[in-house]
């Protein structure tokens, strides 16, 4: 299916989702725009992480769940039978809240995904390693020790390694779930800076770890409360002139 740049890259249609009897999402619909940073914000247990994990089907790993509605990626239902899930996950990458380097070296972490995808050529893997580490603003710090254990990096470096690891697969969409929650302000600034650099080539959806961060990075912002999408608009509008009372209370810090 051919899609021009105006069409949404991801369309979420009436999605409801439950863990057992507990509904985590209720009838959520929204379109995610290409080459922009979309922010999912709201208080804890609002359904943000769940929605993020539905977009690349990571929640398939969880037992005892129910889903209604559709999620389209480039116009195609990602939950349709016959969808190749590993391929989908290569095109929609994920960075988790805590840095989770795999056991092994920095280089092995970066090349893990590409090697599973069948890339064996050493030059190509080296190329991918350098490019993705540069994109994640980590190259200069690790270029002389690519074969050191990934666990020897600092927390901030590990998180940028995890971003680089996702980028090495050349995804179209990058999902980030509170990627800076465990980081100091300097590392956070570095990660945010690389997000700005990346959005020309990638579509980014991020669950920010603070309202301030949301305001700094958002092109579009969606506010979730108790599994419902309350308001979804251009970022500056949502933060300066929210339409819903609940959004206003949240972004002005009345609850959180």
């Amino acid at each position: 299916m051919v899609s021009n740049d105006e069409s949404p890259i991801i369309r979420i249609e009436n999605v409801s989702y439950a863990y057992g009897d507990k509904w985590a999402l209720r009838n959520v619909s929204l379109d995610v725009q290409r080459n922009a940073i979309t922010v999912f914000l709201g208080p804890a247990s609002g359904g943000k992480t769940t929605l993020l994990r539905l977009i690349n089907r990571l929640n398939d790993l969880v037992d005892g769940t129910r889903m209604m509605g559709r999620i389209l990626f480039n116009g195609q239902d990602i939950y349709a039978p016959g969808v190749d899930v590993p391929t989908l996950r290569r095109r929609i990458g994920m960075v988790f809240a805590l840095p989770l380097p795999l056991p092994g070296t920095i280089r092995e972490n970066i090349t893990y995904g590409p090697r599973l995808a069948g890339i064996k050529d050493k030059t190509r893997l080296a190329e991918l390693t350098e490019r993705s580490l540069r994109q994640a603003a980590l190259w200069d710090e690790v270029k002389d020790r690519l074969d050191a254990p990934a666990s020897s990096l600092s927390g901030g470096q590990q998180q940028r390694l995890c971003i680089a690891r996702s980028l090495a697969l050349e995804p179209e969409v990058l999902l980030l779930d509170e990627p800076t929650s465990g980081l100091d302000p300097i590392s956070t600034a570095k990660v945010e800076h690389s997000l700005f650099e990346l959005k020309s080539q990638y579509t980014i959806i991020i669950v920010p770890h603070s309202i301030q961060q949301a305001a700094r990075v958002a092109d579009y912002a969606a506010f979730f409360l108790m599994g419902e999408l309350i308001e979804y608009r251009v970022g500056t509008e949502l933060f300066t002139a929210p339409r819903d009372r609940r959004t206003e209370d949240y972004v002005t810090g009345r609850f959180g």
Partner: protein, 281 residues
């Protein structure tokens, strides 16, 4: 007594209880080493028994035990580790997996002589393997399976679930995640479990009694379908069935068996501690 004195008394009592555990081990090993060491020499280790086993060596029993342990390993490792991977990584909580777990739990509690009779019935008679190394190894393997499965499953479950999530998020299939991340991380624990299982197999008498062990066979087995002597059974035989048996030979045999088992144990322990130190999570 004030509470500090009570505490001190408690510590003293607990220390004594802990020492009670150590004493029998020290005594058993001490007595066997002290009385068996005289019998140990090159001839004892590599010669055939002579004079109705009252002289000569115990070479065929050593070889027999090594062969049986090897055979047990070949049969039990693929099934045990495969079963553990299924239970830890694939199986959902259904009546089937609950039945499998219950079976494993019960298998672990069955007396070893029952395994011996089971092996006699299934492998020796029904499958017509005869009393043979093959039948003995398979019997020991069945007995070892619960140990291998439960320790290997535990080792796999100890690998943080985040690794599976990360692997999946990078486009790995479930099997690729297991093959490249989870299994290598669990391997030291699995090896330890396998060795502990084999350890038990190497020292057992009852399961080989009806399935493979020969009373006296002054040559080495020539094929998988031969009977063989084995250290635990040989020890039983020379301790109870042969009048006028010199004590050094009895203790020497016990010492060889003990050393074999202890060395497997030491290997298992060092593998575990080596990898624990290198572990990155």
């Amino acid at each position: 007594m004030n509470r500090y004195q009570v505490q001190r008394l408690g510590f003293v009592l607990l220390t004594l209880i802990a020492l009670v555990v150590v004493v029998p081990i020290v005594l058993v090993v001490g007595v066997i080493v002290a009385r068996g060491l005289k019998a140990i020499n090159i001839e004892f280790l590599i010669a055939m028994p002579r004079d109705g086993m009252r002289a000569g060596g115990i070479f065929p029993a050593i070889v027999g035990t090594l062969l049986l342990t090897l055979g047990t390993a070949l049969a039990a490792i693929p099934i045990g580790v495969g079963g553990a991977i299924y239970l830890a990584e694939y199986a959902r909580d259904t009546w089937l997996t609950r039945a499998i777990r219950l079976a494993i739990l019960n298998l672990a509690g069955i007396p070893s002589v029952v395994y011996g009779l089971f092996g006699l019935g299934l492998f020796v008679l029904f499958l017509r393997l005869g009393t043979s190394i093959l039948a003995g190894s398979l019997t020991l393997a069945v007995m070892t399976l619960p140990i291998i499965i439960s320790t290997a499953e535990e080792a796999l479950r100890a690998v943080p679930s985040e690794f599976r999530l990360v692997s999946a998020s990078l486009g790995g299939t479930r099997w690729q995640g297991i093959r490249h991340i989870v299994f290598p991380q669990a391997l030291p624990g699995i090896i330890t479990g396998v060795l502990l299982g084999l350890l038990r197999a190497a020292g057992e008498t009852a399961p080989i009694l009806f399935t493979v062990a020969a009373f006296f066979l002054p040559h080495l087995p020539r094929s998988l379908f031969d009977q063989t002597m084995a250290l635990p059974y040989h020890l039983y035989v020379i301790s109870t069935q042969v009048p006028g048996m010199p004590h050094e030979i009895q203790y020497g045999t016990a010492l060889v068996l003990l050393m074999l088992v202890l060395s497997i144990n030491i290997v298992a322990t060092s593998i575990r501690s080596y990898f624990r130190r290198r572990r990155q999570w």
